[in-house]
Every structure is written in C-alpha cells, then in structure tokens.
C-alpha cells in the first residue's frame, strides 16, 4: 500500500521534528518526509490538515485480559480500543490466568494478537513461576517466545533473596526486570493513600513508605546485581525523588507513571467513587504535583495507560471491595495532552513520553518517523473535544474516573506497518 499523508503537522520527538510536512509510506515503512520519492503513486491519500502526525503510541502497560479473564474483556475488544486510542505497540503484564510463565502461553497470546493485525503486543513475562515469588521462570525460553521484559505485576515479591536471584538471572541474559514498588505487609489491607482523606472516609490506608521502602530495596538490589530495572507506576513525591537520586548516581533505572496519577489525587475519591480505587492508590495533591514535575523533567521516563478493564458489577461495590483499576487505552493520548497543556510542556516533549521514551524502555524500534522506520503512526486532532462515556469507549471496561468529562485529543487514523487499522467515523 502506498500512502501519502499530506498537510499534517509532523511531530517526531526522537528526531526533534515538529513541522508541517507531507509523509510518504510504502511497503509498510516510512519512505520519505517532505517530498515524494521518485515516481511515487499513492494508492491512498490522507488529508491531515489541522491534524498532528506522530509515531504510534507505545503503552507500557495494558491488560488485555486474555488468557483467563475473558468475562472482563477480550483481546478483540481491547485491541480495538488500543488502536482507537492511537496505540500501535503495547506491553501487557503477566498477571493473566494462568500467568505468563510458560512459553506456550506467550506464543499463544502473540499469535492471537498478531492474527488481529492491529497493534503490536509485547508480553511481559512472569519473573517467578505462578507469580508466587518463590521459583524462577525460564526467562530465556520466554524471551525466545516473545517476552521483552519480566515483571511481578502487582503480586508481592517480598523475599529479598528471591528478588536478588531473579535480577541476577535476568541480567545474565540482559533482560530488564520491571517491578512495582509496593511493600506487601504495609499495603496488605490498605485501599487508599494513608492520609487526611482516608482518615475522614474511614478507609484503611497504604502509607507512602510502602512505596519508598520497596523502592529502596529494589534499587539496592539492582545496584548489587547490575540488573536493568524499570519501576512501574510510581505514585509518591518521595518515590520520584528517590528515582531522581538513583539516576544521578548513574543507576540504569527507568520508571513510568499511570496517566491517572498525573491528574488525580485522593481528593477525587469524593464520597467513595470506586472508579478511583486504583493500585497504587491516588495519593495527595503534593504527590500528584511531584509526579507531574517528574514526568516533565524526565525523572519519570514514560506515561502509560495501566489499562485495567473491570466489569461494572465489580465496581458497584463499597470502595474497599470494588475491584481496583481503570480503563485507559483510549485516554492515554488526551490525558497526556492535558498534562502537557497544564504543565507548559511543548507537544514534542509531551509526545516523547508516550512514543520514543517508552519504546526505549521496551527496547523496540517503534516511536520514530525517520525514513526507513516501520510505519506505525497516530494521526490525531489535538483540539477536538470528545466526551468520555460508555458509548464512546471501545474497551469493554467503562470504569474510569474521567467518565462524563470532555477531553481534548481525538485520534482520526491509526496506522500499523503501513496499513490503516483505524479510521474514526465522523461524529
């Protein structure tokens, strides 16, 4: 397919590109920017006047709910949601049922995803068998099956010795270890950030030190073992500061934040809105502001959706009993744009947090628009408002704290491997 995208505002963070130019695609790759190659005959033209053309979004965490949780959502619906959100590559955590600790399961998932011809799926393998925190998985085999990294999802990995061994083993094969900083015993019964709001609402709290203690442990072990570590879903201002210091010391650590956490705080729980029951919990305004700053100054490398579709019944319960998580694939772009606008971040930098930087964390070649690069693109209308409501979301998960709000940033086209996989219907 030969595609000519004309009049768009091309933004390629990796190449520091932000200008109006045409873009030409052939055989699944970007062939030229600006002028058409010799004898280029487009089979398809996209008029991107007034639209931004950027690399397809790279989401570091999206739960697709397969295998095992098909009652919550299916691969089909969630992959539809991903491309509707402009996402062309996504990593999915290993906490499926069964967990992704066997090469066969990973192959099956990759196969299923590939056959849909939509976004690229990068499974993150389980660090320990069954995610039980005791025995190592066959990380090399899993890598060969398609895993790009290994994590423990939200399951506790409190045994420092096991964590250290897992990091050593992973780094033997130069495989990155992705970990959440959440101490199990300190966060066991908590459902909200330990502080003023949780006290007033009578909700058991998770103290900030549950994150900082776990974070320090992870970083000390990373230093000890030389493993490449990625911290998932940082949530506190103290946590951001610890990462900042670690990076200054030259530790090979990266981290991400959830798109929800750069906008919301525990105050948004209001009178027990279970859509705000998230892991890690939404912390104070001070924490939220530190996360925004951390994302701006690069301490936090990427923002991800942390997409977790939950069926309605599981949210219609008292706060503590409601299942944690929010749907997010279709909100990643508007929430990133909102943060950029509020924090005075130029669009190029902002988009890097959802394209080139997460691509670097994943170790994949996406997130770039240079000639020769795979044509994974997102074309969106930066100033178009749309309402977040069940009927406007393709994901089966309608559980988001942003329900009912209008957001700016509407995807018009998503291209994967030079094919238009998503085209918005005019509304």
């Amino acid at each position: 397919m030969k595609i000519h995208i004309k009049n768009g505002r091309l933004i390629d963070p990796k190449n520091h590109l932000d200008r109006k130019a045409d873009l030409f695609i052939a055989a699944g790759k970007v062939v030229s920017i600006g002028d058409p190659p010799q004898g280029f005959n487009a089979s398809h033209e996209i008029d991107a006047n007034g639209l931004v053309v950027c690399p397809g979004l790279v989401d570091l965490s999206a739960r697709l709910r397969e295998p095992g949780y098909e009652y919550r959502a299916t691969l089909e619906s969630e992959m539809e949601a991903a491309i509707a959100g402009g996402i062309t590559s996504l990593a999915c955590p290993p906490d499926t049922d069964p967990p992704l600790d066997e090469p066969g399961l990973v192959e099956m998932l990759k196969y299923r995803a590939r056959s849909l011809n939509q976004a690229h799926v990068f499974p993150v393998g389980a660090l320990t068998q069954g995610l039980l925190g005791e025995n190592l998985t066959e990380m090399a085999e899993l890598r060969d099956a398609g895993c790009v990294a290994f994590s423990h999802a939200e399951k506790p990995l409190d045994n420092a010795l096991v964590m250290m061994r897992a990091m050593q083993y992973a780094s033997t094969f130069d495989l990155p270890v992705w970990l959440r900083a959440q101490d199990a015993s300190l966060s066991k019964i908590g459902v909200a950030h330990e502080g003023e709001v949780a006290t007033r609402l009578g909700l058991p709290g998770i103290p900030t030190c549950a994150e900082t203690i776990a974070l320090s442990k992870i970083l000390r072990l990373a230093e000890e073992t030389g493993a490449r570590v990625h911290i998932c879903r940082i949530s506190s201002s103290e946590g951001v500061e610890i990462i900042r210091q670690a990076k200054k010391q030259g530790l090979p650590v990266t981290c991400d934040v959830s798109a929800n956490h750069i906008h919301l705080s525990d105050r948004d729980i209001g009178f027990f809105d279970s859509n705000c029951h998230l892991i890690p919990p939404l912390r104070s305004l001070r924490d939220r502001d530190a996360l925004k700053r951390g994302l701006k100054d690069g301490t936090i490398d990427a923002v991800c959706s942390d997409h977790t579709p939950v069926d309605d019944d599981a949210k219609l319960l008292p706060f503590a009993e409601a299942e944690a998580g929010a749907t997010g694939l279709e909100l990643l772009l508007p929430l990133t744009l909102k943060w950029a606008e509020e924090s005075n971040v130029p669009l190029t930098d902002a988009l890097s947090r959802v394209t080139s930087r997460p691509a670097d964390v994943l170790g994949i070649e996406s997130g770039i628009l240079s000639p020769g690069a795979v044509a994974d693109l997102c074309i969106f209308a930066p100033d178009t408002y749309w309402k977040i409501e069940p009927k406007s979301l393709k994901s089966q998960g309608k559980n988001t704290p942003f329900l009912g709000l209008e957001m700016k940033g509407r995807v018009r086209y998503t291209l994967v491997g030079g094919h238009i996989v998503y085209e918005a219907t005019p509304s």
Binding site: T199, G202, L203, F271, L316, L317, F319, A320
Partner: protein, 314 residues
Amino acid sequence: MQRQLNKNGELQHLLTIEGLSAAMLHHILDTAESFVGVTEREVKKVPLLRGKAIFNLFFEPSTRTRTTFEIAAKRLSADVINLNISASSQSKGETLLDTVNNLSAMHADMFIVRHAQSGAAHLIANHVAPEIHVINAGDGRHAHPTQALLDMYTIRHFKRDFHELKVAIIGDIMHSRVARSQIHALTTLGVPEVRVIAPKTLLPKGVEHLGVHPYHDMAKGLKDVDVLLMLRLQNERMQGALLPSAQEYFKYYGLTPEKLALAKPDAIVMHPGPMNRGIEIDSAVADGPQSVILPQVTFGIAVRMAVMSILAGS
C-alpha cells in the same frame, strides 16, 4: 458529591454528619426533644409514619442498634421488616445492590443500613429510587450519624451550650465510625476544643485535619474536660500488632475514678455501648454519678424517631 440534601435543602438521606449545618443538627435535636415527650407517656406511639415500610438492612449483626431503630420506627406506627443479611445471601453471590433492588421492589420507603464496609450506605443511596430514604446505621470505619446525634443530644441536655465545652474522645479512634461522626458533629456545633486520646497505633494519620487535638497522655488529655466520650475497644485490636494487652490498655487509657477526677468535677461520662468493663472503663465510673450512659438509651430512640420523621416528611 453530597447527596444527602435534596434541591430544597431538605434531608433526603442521613449518611454522614459531614456536610450538615449546625442549624440542621439543632433541628434534628429539637425534633428529638419533642419525641422524648412521647416516649415518656403511656401510649408511646404517634401515627406519623403509619403505612410506611421501613427495612432494617443489617449486613453486620447488631442487636442493640437494630432494636433501637425498630422501636423508634414502631413508635411512629411504621411497619418494620428486619433483614439480617449475613453470609447466606452474600455467599450465594447476590451483590449488595441486587439485595437492595429486590427489596425496593417490595415498596420499601426507608432503608436503615449497617455494613462492614465504609461507603456502603452512600453506594445504596446513590442507587435507590428517589422516593426511598436511606439511614446509615454504621458503615465500616466511616460514619454512624445517629449515634453521634444522640450523643450531641445528651451533651445538650446536660451541658446546654456547646460553645463553652472541652470534649475528649477516648479510645480506638482509628477504627471508630462513632468517633468520626462525633468529631464532625462537635466541630460543626462549635465546640471550641475537641481532644482525641489514644496510643499512636490507634490514631489515624492526619486526624488533626478533622479539627481535633491528639493526646497520648490521658492525664494531660483529660485536664478540665467537660464531656468524656468513651469508645469501645474491640478484642481484635489485641492482634495485628496494634496493642499488647487489655491490661496495659486499661492501665494507661482506661477510665478510672482517679483519672476522671482530672476532668471538671461536673464532667459527664458517655459510652455508646456495649461497655467492656475493666478494659476501657472501670465499673465504678460506669455506674457512678457522672455516668449518663443510661439516659443515652432513651435519647437514642427519640433521636432516631426524629431522623425518620424528618426524612419521611421531605
């Protein structure tokens, strides 16, 4: 979102003391006062809520609170249906809202809800038909508004003016819905000094943001206090590394005559019941002249009658 008041500012549900004005609280107390008169005559019934169906939805067992609500409802001539929804229907997979929807279909006018989870009453109130009123009889650690109201009634009865008082709440503030509701009521009614007295493990983080002064030393905390609100200490607190033993708790935080003597000579002692004698309170104090624990019970019925009447009439 505050859903307790309808667009006319009338009380539609009673879920929490937060968000209620001092005027509204006094209105409830004044109405309760007129009902005290009713409870003192021989025919204790009035026909106010005749034909109304009130459902007691107790997801957490409680004989005492449920009985008080039942008596109050019957004195208003309402029909009362008691539902102890224990593990049975919950284990059959029926959700909280399923249960409520099924009961709503039986023409309920009012639900009185007690649940082990904070926010349960709010969840129910957000999902019932507009004509149905919900009273929170205790949700997790969050709120127990009718208990706080009857405590305020008792204080007003014995002490008259809230603006001159020092009030101390003693015990497991961390896990107490009664304490949280009392704190909101006291601060709203203008009590200038509200103290909470407990070991650090039983004080929730940020409690001072609720407008109270935390004390760990009971002697300091009780000095010149006019009203002592005792809280019950659950047995479970001795596990989970919160407290070492009942004995040590009683020694440092139990109310004995000696400690009571540090408060004002005419200070009153209250307790929501049931009391753990010898753990949070000494029998000499519980049965002593400064204890107003028994009158609290009568006031409790009148206060609940007042709440039900005000809701039903809105």
